[in-house]
């Protein structure tokens, strides 16, 4: 990789030990992907759920924090969306673990470095988003695909330690989605039906992700029916990234780099594969579970917005969650408080459900939660969570919010 004078000086330690570690790490990764040079960035998002970081990740951050400030000077703005810590609910979910102390450790360690730890979800633009075409160093899987596809910013997956490196150098290696040629669509899809809800959008993302199964593939999608909402696109994006490691997509005539097929594909003619409603139906069928006793419903991933919580409150109003089922509704702390101010939280809790703030269900020791509560059958409207929680030993069933709530009330998976 070509290094400019500043980057060479970083490598020589003249910009402090943190920058020296960071630029060497980034040079290794950039060389692996044949990056020619670095691209400057201004915004960084650090993925920091406690389970993922592990004790060694915290120790690494604390070690950086123990350096003199001049040795760890930040060269970008960094945020980590912790989404608060919900003592009551996490004490219930994880009775054998003092998660409050563990999360506090992470918040303190990151804070000492100057990483802003807030409660809101970065895809909800809790931090002013990068501009169209702007390079950034985002870490969260859903954040990267969102920024590339929906905002039109430029980003690779800069996983935890990589985003920290970007924080100290103010740059990232220029490869992958920082390059014009890599952002063009490589595969075409056409939806022959109009998805009915956000879960259907997630299933479409899962089907395309499974089909392509490579970070380097960029699907473009032509729709039938009305344009999707940002939340629908976000569910599709999460699922594509989860099932296929996809980091960028286009929706023709919707997303900013796809005003038409030709522009989306960089002038190439793509074969276009049809995704129909039968494909979606088959996806639901493969997870099964109808009629099974239901242990837990987790509505999260991404955490919910006020509009979804309004829908849930309406479904629960005057009803009662079945005694064998735990209903968990995840929202960032500010959203939860906003819901309480307009009475939604009270309706939900009166029905026996739990409003949880803090990291997502799947990212907070979900296997330990399963073992602690002897849970097996899980329902969720997030097909990403379905994918992850299968590996943690759950038997997951994806379904619409409406079906999830009705099942929680019935205590079994209804069809």
């Amino acid at each position: 990789m070509k290094l400019d004078d500043v980057e060479k000086a970083m490598l020589d330690g003249k910009y402090g030990r943190a920058a020296a570690w960071a630029i060497e790490f980034q040079k290794d990764v950039g060389t692996f992907f044949d990056a020619e040079d670095f691209v400057p960035i201004r915004l960084v998002h650090v993925s920091t759920d406690r389970e993922t970081m592990g004790d060694s990740g915290i120790a690494f951050i604390e070690e950086l924090g123990s350096l003199r400030p001049s040795e760890r000077y930040p060269r970008a703005y960094a945020t980590a969306d912790f989404r608060g810590f919900d003592k009551e609910n996490f004490s219930f979910l994880l009775p054998g673990r003092n998660l409050e102390v563990e999360v506090r450790q992470a918040v303190d360690a990151l804070g000492k470095l100057g990483v802003v730890t807030n409660h809101a979800y970065v895809n909800d633009h809790s931090v002013t988003a990068p501009g169209f075409g702007e390079a950034c160093g985002y870490s969260g899987t859903p954040s990267v695909i969102y920024m590339n596809s929906i905002v039109g910013a430029r980003c690779n997956f800069e996983a935890g330690p990589s985003s920290l490196a970007a924080f100290f150098t103010g740059r990232v290696p220029r490869y992958g989605f920082h390059l014009d040629a890599k952002r063009f669509a490589t595969h075409g899809f056409r939806l022959s039906f109009s998805p009915e809800n956000i879960v259907d959008w997630g299933v479409v993302g899962a089907l395309i992700g499974r089909e392509l199964n490579s970070y380097w593939c960029v699907p473009a999608l032509e729709l039938t029916g009305p344009p999707p909402t940002v939340l629908e696109l976000n569910h599709m994006a999460l699922a594509m990234a989860s099932y296929g490691s996809i980091a960028m997509f286009h929706v023709v005539n919707v997303t900013p780099e796809a005003p038409d097929w030709e522009t989306a594909a960089g002038g190439k003619k793509l074969d276009v594969k049809t995704v129909d409603s039968n494909d979606v139906r088959m996806f639901y069928q493969e997870w099964g579970g109808i009629g099974d006793e239901l242990d837990v419903v987790a509505l999260s991933t991404p955490q919910l917005t006020v509009t979804e919580i309004i829908e849930i409150a309406a479904l629960l109003d005057g009803k009662r969650v079945h005694e064998r089922t735990t209903l968990l509704i995840y929202a960032p702390k500010e959203i939860k408080e906003a819901c309480a101010r307009i009475g939604l939280t009270q309706i939900i809790e009166k029905a026996g459900a739990r409003m949880v703030h803090g990291h997502d269900f799947f990212a907070t020791f979900a296997k330990e939660i399963r073992l602690a509560h002897k849970w097996d059958r899980l329902m969720t409207h997030s097909v990403k969570m379905v994918n992850i929680c299968e590996g943690y030993g759950y038997q997951p069933t994806p379904a619409s919010i409406q079906r999830c709530i009705q099942s929680a009330i019935a205590g079994k998976v209804i069809g």
Binding site: A159, P161, N213, G393
Partner: protein
């Protein structure tokens, strides 16, 4: 003396040799592993129930998102890590995780690496030169 030499893109991490654990399936530390027990825990994974600690994983593509980067490091710290990782199709997360954890990692081979290497083969990875050598084949 090696039985076969396979060329890939130059990789990350030190030279190692060890026993392969191979399958034509994909890989994520979050989605597929019980990282405490050191086994593949995803029922639908072709290596379900297999122990991976100290083995060189030979799999198809990097799967899922960013979690693997922190997790590979934690697995090394807890002595619950694979010895190395070979994928047909890597992604930035695996490269970043391997670089952070100093786990030998290579991808982009001139053959399907999951077909070329079988579980039980003794192999040597030389990431700096982009070479994998099969030192001995498992006897069937």
């Amino acid at each position: 003396m090696s039985l076969l030499e396979i060329k890939g893109h130059s990789g990350i991490g030190p030279t190692v040799n060890g026993i392969a654990l191979s399958a034509p399936d994909d890989f994520s530390a979050r989605y597929d592993l019980d990282r405490d027990r050191g086994i593949f825990s995803r029922p639908s994974h072709k290596l379900y129930g297999e122990e991976f600690v100290g083995r060189i994983l030979v799999l198809n593509a990097a799967k899922g998102g960013v979690a693997s980067a922190w997790m590979l490091h934690e697995m090394v710290e807890k002595a619950k890590a694979p010895l190395g990782l070979l994928l047909n199709d890597g992604n930035p997360v695996m490269a970043q995780g391997a670089a952070f954890a100093q786990i030998p990692f290579m991808d982009r081979f001139d053959v399907d690496i999951t077909s070329a290497i079988s579980t039980g083969d003794e192999i040597e990875i030389i990431p700096a030169r982009g070479i994998v050598r099969i030192l001995s084949r498992i006897k069937t």
